[in-house]
Symmetry: D2
Subunit: 439 residues, 4 copies
């Protein structure tokens, strides 16, 4: 099937709605796609609970990973025209692009928060541990898996390559903005990727962009900004995530208490109890989670079953905007009132905060410093993007945070019990309400 | 929240990548969407196993059902301009469009074939039985659920309305062609729906189309034809479906034999044994199926575990074209050879046939007769489409059937055992092989 | 600016709405684009009078020529992977693709019919005569211009290359279908060009297509078929063309009669009188034609001025379908009636016929035989497209002709004179009327 | 053909690539489109000389005017749902939207600058003077034309209606951003118009936007900003405009000097000499201008003929960035050097400045004050956009100006004469050069 140079006899393609076609020429890539660990990404949605807000957003990490690979492939075609490009790095780059998300689990965001896990650690384990992925990578040399893992971990020597896959403008971000916009149906995520790839140049330790393409880069930054607030932090999505987290909390608590489940969550046990083995982790996917949640609708614990029903049938919490400092004043009274009407505020009165730093210039010494984007001026000088672009400057380094208070409005409207308390709660809370849909 | 006329105080919209926005004005529709039976459609893919061929095709029946509703809504806006339109039918139409697929289960195609079930029967039960959907419909009058069910069953008196939702050119087909093309990324399914809606006119018992729009209708028929062969009958998709069916067969057989499962498939029991109760049926979704398949990878029965691993990790059967009459000659030898090498031909040597009748004119008296599409000529006369269109005539009434023989090529290539028999099998089979991808 | 290998120091690109970017690497191509003969194509619309029907169709032959070049460039990238490709042919192909339409004049269709000219002859003259285009081509060798001209004339030795630019599926047709669909806004012309290019293979004397891509080719043929009847032969476009031809006829007749024009059409003289010199021909463009037509609105000759006003202000003729054999019966009476009411039937009663042969298989010995499209079967055999495709077979070799009778309906409705005769004419003519718009 | 209510018997539609269909129901609109003054807009490009940079930008003001009408039509459908909407304003709005650009002449930008004309004055004259447009408008009442003209002039009483057609976010701007992006092929001009229309609400004297739609409005402002710098102020377009202006200057100067033209520009006379009559103005279009420019290629005056050849064959001036204050220092020397080498600096050494104020908040008392965009907050309060949006705030009220110095680089490179002076000029000028293309 393949040739001594590692190329497939015939190019394989995948039809992709975002990039039209995804082209595979290398046996290595083809075989990585066929591994069980990579195929598992088909069962993990790219956008977690977003599908509850935007019904088109059912696309998976399998989908996205192929897209990141394809962008990297096109980047390399361009970079190969520069003298400084080292052709030996090609397969490392492509494999890292393909595998950068392979460690993600189901609904990663919530699971990681509740169980203090880290998908990046799992990614490294899958690449370097006892897996089909590792076996395929080994064929390129004993140190090849480590190289790939290092690129993803940003510890690889060649920083240019690291920047292609994780920087403020990289193959990963470009794919997800385009892809998430496509599947949700919003127009915000569109930008001219072809133009950005055309003006990209290799610099010592980072990809930079010819000044003549500044507006395309600006447009990309603005897309990112818009997608965060229009899609990724959509309050309905966050409501579903609040409920999901509370289900996980409750299940863990019940387990700790020795509660007897009607359906014992065997598949989740390792996660709930201790540091799970890779083998067990790889068996987790969103089907498994959804299966248990559906089962738990019939558990006796009223909190667990109620939350699961809410999640499965999309009976989400409503929300009000909240200013944490103000909120503190009414917080004790609110919690007390919730308890009075028989609703546990630990599960049913939740503040969720989202914040975004749309673009950051370099602030040495700070935690989480991010490498800024550099423009290549006609005279060969590099200049940091926000110095050239008013628009980017406007949003640079400005962290915007949004706080919302989530709660089950349906319960508060049921006046068959505690009508006065509920009225008081409503008075405290309801200035403004969320909506079902995404617009 | 709502007004006496049944309208919501403010229109709700869903962002939809295919129709841009889906508009909901009626409380009835809004509340139907919120029922648990309708929300369940989020967990059932529109295209079954197609996602294994086209990785974008993860969209659900929830998604499609909203789309059919939206097309119906737009149709009615146009029809309301005609004198003959009865405004009382509006909500019946909209509800029927929304609910026409509500009875679908997971991977319907395979489940229905193996268990002789019928999603249309379930649709009627959900609409008329003890469900949240029924409770919402009842609000419009005691006979309203029956009306909606009759439209879907095509037994409703007003045949015009039936034709809007099930005929050779209806809201259902228009949505799925556009939607499936969008999510798979192929270009075949595109046609000018806006034009078709514009030239649609109400006739006594059927929607007809102004002659000036004939080419848009032609284009729709051709899209349909192309989608069938490029997407719906794609050989890789069918390979996944063959394996899925064989898993179900095997599980049923084992159950009949009294085999003890490590993981007893409680959720599937009702289906496996007898006519399931509605309550049990509604708990089935694709998460449940995927959960069991993943569990069964570790069953002791080698056939069940092997097939499940193949399905979960996409190690599909390969195929060769086959001519059934020729095949019959080598069939006994092939089966015998499979047995010799220890591979059960009942599970591993499968002929799958697909056939499509892209457009049919009226052949009275025949079974499955389909109402033809009529053009409204400038002089007011009606003329059957294939009489006006060469292209449609070319494909009218011609059933095209395609037979493929599926088998596990990987086993045949492993020469560590039975090398001669396997070589003989390969000689009998392999003229041409399928490919991983969709192009 | 350029390097010894004839490459530009930096790739140039044009932003193109159809192909996104048009890439130019070769100095030869860059300089050809800059010649005055090629720049002149900016002043000649791709679709003649179609802009009167589809207001978006203002795109020019400059636009299309770049597109054909770009498709050819992409074809060659693919063909270069085949052993049989001769790299020396590359620039001949690209130049021929770019220049294939360079001899077109304003509203070619009408001018060629009325003045018996031939744009292909002009194309050859521009390439081989005393022009900037020729000077640029000469740089590649003294025989280079002839080679390019031969490819366009289909007399080039390498028939494979001829087929890339003129056959039933070539760079020219692919570009215009996509481009004309884009600018008119219709959906009919879309097909998956990327797929077609992917499955294209070089055969001895023709490009052929892998069988696995048959449906993409089918789709292309259907697009072509639809575009002909929906766009290219649109009756309103033909009405404008009928008037345009009649203006040219009238002007030539007046000139022959020695009529004194208020504005003497100096720029048109050479065309009107005899075989024009290349130098004069190159000064013709649509601005010149439109300028004279506007001037002639004020000529004393009532026919010329009326027809020019109709063309400039879009007061087109209406039409009825006509069956030539039936028409013959009423023709003498109609003509007589027109004369009676003072309207010259030679200018105001015009039959226009359009016919299309959407796909043709090979019929040796016939005039205008067209090379059929061949599929490359898995076993290496070639098979003619219509033998594999029902749909293509249905429309193969079938010439469809449409006849329409055009006339000034406005005059017939003015009942201030000859009311009876006009009524009689109307009775003879009006079964059905054309419409302003394109739907 | 029409009914007493002024509606057409059947809706007419135009196929439009941007809005898909343009719907016409009112006889008034239909007849306005058919007037010769409106049809004349087919011969005036929407984007002047931009087609020299972006070859797709051949679209006309006819095209755009229909688009503005269609957006207004959709706006009104939405506004009609509000109680405050006065249905009598409907036709005034639609007519004003359709006719808002009817006074534009060929290459308006340059002509207006050189001849101190004002297309808005012409628009008013066409609407209220002796024209077909006026005759059609009169049918709606004697004061109807004045009303329409007042809306366009922003002097109409109902300021809400004025704001729909001229404000910082109006039907005109929304159409041109979408349309110009479509025809040029750039991605910058895209935004979600449907969403903006959905969140638009009528306020007393202005349309305002629900706060929930802020991001769509932000996106629109950013599109506008990007289109200005990427398309409208593209340096190559401005080079063509510089040459065009200089041709007009030269022709006027020659005329003033009594120069005898080989081709006397009869059609331009009125414009060149004095305030032209409406009748003469309406005969101007881009065909006429291009005709004369082509003729003038052969005039004896070397400046006029050279500039015309440059314009017709796209031999444009190159440019360098310039800082006016710095420039002043070298200006006298540069001019002197140009004169020495025999090149008139008045025609061949041109500074062109473009500036854009992407969004402005209200600064009472200032000239050119622009009505700011207001958001409608959930509590009913209005808030100015830039107070809510960081991004808009960043670019608010900031005028950005760009200065470029244009000159014929080709002459400076010809070293057959004055090599030293040319070398000195190049040293003074060339830091950076423009490019042919748009990327």
């Amino acid at each position: 099937m393949t040739r001594p140079d590692g190329k497939l006899n015939e190019e394989k393609v995948f039809k992709d709605p975002v990039h039209r076609y995804i082209h595979v020429r290398d046996e290595l890539i083809w075989d990585l796609i066929g591994t069980r660990e990579f195929q598992r990404l088909r069962r993990i949605r790219q956008l977690g609970t977003t599908f509850m807000t935007f019904h088109g957003a059912e696309h998976t990490r399998f989908n996205h990973s192929l897209g990141v690979y394809e962008i990297m492939r096109r980047m390399i075609v361009n970079l190969e025209e520069e003298d400084t490009w080292d052709p030996d790095e090609r397969l490392v780059c492509l494999a890292a692009a393909l595998l950068h998300d392979v460690g993600h689990g189901p609904f990663s965001h919530s699971f990681e928060k509740v169980f203090h896990m880290d998908h990046e650690k799992w990614t490294r384990e899958i690449i370097t541990g006892d897996t089909e992925v590792n076996a395929v990578l080994q064929r390129m040399g004993a140190d090849f898996p480590e190289k790939v893992a290092d690129v993803i971990a940003k510890t690889y020597d060649n920083k240019l390559i690291v920047s292609l896959i994780s920087s403020q403008i990289d193959a990963d971000r470009m794919d997800y903005l385009l892809r998430d916009a496509f599947y949700t149906g919003v127009s915000y995520g569109q930008f001219d990727m072809e133009r950005i790839l055309r003006v990209m140049r290799a610099n010592e330790d980072q990809a930079v962009f010819k000044h003549s393409g500044m507006h395309a880069v600006e447009d990309y930054i603005m897309s990112r900004y818009q997608m965060y607030w229009q899609v990724y932090f959509h309050p309905v999505t966050r409501s579903a995530e609040v409920i999901l987290s509370k289900i996980l909390h409750r299940a863990r608590e019940l387990m700790a208490e020795g509660y007897t489940f009607k359906t014992e969550p065997d598949r989740l046990l390792s996660i709930f109890s201790e540091s799970p083995a890779l083998h067990d982790y790889l068996k987790l996917d969103e089907s498994v989670v959804m299966f248990y949640f559906q089962e738990w609708e019939e558990e006796e614990d009223p909190i667990l079953s109620d939350l699961c029903r809410r999640f499965m049938h999309r009976r989400l919490f409503k929300y009000v905007e909240c200013d944490p400092s103000e909120q503190m004043l009414i917080w004790p009274e609110l919690q007390q009132l919730f308890r009075t009407i028989g609703v546990d505020p630990d599960y049913y009165l939740v503040i969720d905060s989202s914040s975004d730093l749309p673009y950051d210039f370099y602030r040495p010494g700070e935690k989480d410093e991010r490498l800024p984007i550099h423009l290549l001026m006609p005279d060969g000088e590099l200049r940091e993007l926000s110095r050239e672009s008013d628009v980017v400057e406007a949003i640079s380094g400005k962290k915007r945070t949004d706080h919302k208070l989530y709660f089950p409005k349906d319960i508060l409207l049921d006046e068959s019990s505690f009508p006065e308390e509920k009225q008081r709660i409503r008075a405290l809370l309801m200035k403004q309400e969320g909506e079902y849909d995404a617009t």
